[in-house]
Symmetry: C2
Subunit: 407 residues, 2 copies
Amino acid sequence: MRLSTTFVKTLREAPKDETAINGALLTRAGYIHKEMAGVYDFLPLGRLVIERIKSIIREELSTLGSEEVSMSALQNPELWEKTGRFDDQEVDIWFKTELSAGGILGLAPTHEEPITNLVKKYVKSYKDLPFSVFQFQNKFRNELRAKSGILRGREFLMKDLYSFHATEADLDRFYERVEAAYRRIFERVGLGDCTYEAFASGGIFSKYSHEFQTMLPVGEDTIYYNDDKTVVLNKEVYNPEVLADLNVSEMRFSETTGAEVGNIFKLKYKYAEPLGLKFADEENHEQTVYMGCYGIGVSRLMGVIAEKYADEKGLVWPKAVAPYQYYLVGIGEKGTRAAEKIYHGREKEIIFDDRDLRPGQKFADAELMGIPTRIVVSDKTLESNSAEITDRMTDETKLIELDELFR
Amino acid sequence: MRLSTTFVKTLREAPKDETAINGALLTRAGYIHKEMAGVYDFLPLGRLVIERIKSIIREELSTLGSEEVSMSALQNPELWEKTGRFDDQEVDIWFKTELSAGGILGLAPTHEEPITNLVKKYVKSYKDLPFSVFQFQNKFRNELRAKSGILRGREFLMKDLYSFHATEADLDRFYERVEAAYRRIFERVGLGDCTYEAFASGGIFSKYSHEFQTMLPVGEDTIYYNDDKTVVLNKEVYNPEVLADLNVSEMRFSETTGAEVGNIFKLKYKYAEPLGLKFADEENHEQTVYMGCYGIGVSRLMGVIAEKYADEKGLVWPKAVAPYQYYLVGIGEKGTRAAEKIYHGREKEIIFDDRDLRPGQKFADAELMGIPTRIVVSDKTLESNSAEITDRMTDETKLIELDELFR
């Protein structure tokens, strides 16, 4: 991408109402635009980061054989009334709206009810199980407060995965495979060293669920961890009863804050029962399907990565999620000509800062945008037929011969 | 994809309330699932068709240098009040909802207001113009009736493109380039021979807009065309005054129905003025930005393609938008082994019907799903080391040597 042709510009100052680091820096660097608290547009660079994260998630979920669908936001209350979840007392973050033709609709805050109902059409016998389905889809949650940039959205992109099984043992096995896939995902996006699987509250059919918590000051959850972080608990289950249950009463726990980037849940019969998702087993007896659900907040994940790596100069993207790998600056006439040559054919990897600005301003923008590698070619570097390479994460600088640049 | 592992199944009968061919066949073939009238989920095959169409649109729009963004559905009324369009008397298809924190929000039926406001942040001088921005995004329209399958959605996927110019001449030039890109898009998705650019009503600043109308019985618009279809008009502008204005009063016109698959509109100052999108020209005088907007109904386009090509056996996809290129059936033990070999490494091109069913049932599903090329390998075809290839569109069948299959 040529910076001279993009419509977005970096901003010197963050809007005053952006108190979270992610919201302030992503806005200044031109990745997002705020429509209102908790509601953001993704500009070209921001959209690319989201796409990178989606690709990584897709790759890891494909190892589970999950099939991708795309479900609607508009929801028919009928399904949700069967589970009691259309009631605002039960689920207090609904956006509801009126249909011209009559009746109330909801905007999906999650999709357990509609996916359960959808698969009923196809599940008849044990031979139709197991399988899993996922989507990337915008969820709507009518949050009272939303002040954490893209960490807590009223409209936000989520990856939600649902699995369907004939037996509890099969659900358990799949759950473990999802745990492993999630660990690989968080590792690949650069959060492996600060993201932990935490015990959280379960529900009717399961004692516990698991959350993937990234330990960060900006996190809105309170979590407790033992010294070597092998046992991590959400505050909601940090009590003597649970500690005894988990056999960790003797351990010393510290408190910190976490941002929940994923959660996984053995639903078992929770939705299958009220919605009537049954199958005939090998003896032709009717059985209820076991379900699991597994979420990752995709736009939140982008915000968490931004928060984790940001420094005083701006954003710092791990290579795997960076919108572009290189930020290219040519200095002087010869440097600019050489930069044009380097750029040619690599439009999808390189942000070419071909604007009529001083190098210092370009360097500041390269840092603010957090592009992993800065390439500078100038009369001076060209004397040795080289370019100067600077790593945004380590700040290391070195000269590399032009021929070796992309080796 | 192996049919034995997908959770979706073809259905013998369409739901009774699916009166449109596209809704009925897409449901039976497992491409979509209806949540309610005008609201559909896209199942794995349906999602792939949407992705194929998006790729074609992206490719053609990239020739215009347009940048891709992703904007929110939730809308702040403030912006829309400036143009008068939050008023239900003015725009009668709003879905509105209440924010817990107080106030009414809308669900975007289109995005002129927010995009105009967004780019205000970046447009200061004539040097910042021209540029264009597009997105693929779900629109919400509170339609009183929605009985045409995915042709008229209450929630539907749209590609919307907005352009920004310093002069009217520049807008005109860009408009023509979009017209050409749209013609290529409709050609590539298989609608070139029945899609026409029609005059439609303009607005405050333009006499006419243009619609791309696909002439089909299912179309909800009434259009008029002259004998050689060089002049096509929407009913709304089919009157003596317009015919005189266009100098076509003498022509003979026939009436038919059209499905509007795209529209393009010279907005000029319509939104830029009330929302204050200005720039400083070369003499540093403040000027208003000229705008254009250009839509394509992506999910509708899928429905229109389905309607156009469907026959008594089911769907028929043009290769460019088909979810998979081949439907593979192995008959007998040897045939099945050979099919496994053919399938290997081509999982993204081939639907492998490895289910334990009679060949006749598999052939019927191949036809219902509308996959362009059916490949059958059996003991008999293997005698000549060949496979039988059947073209879904022409019904032509021939034997091809296995080595030549994908040449």
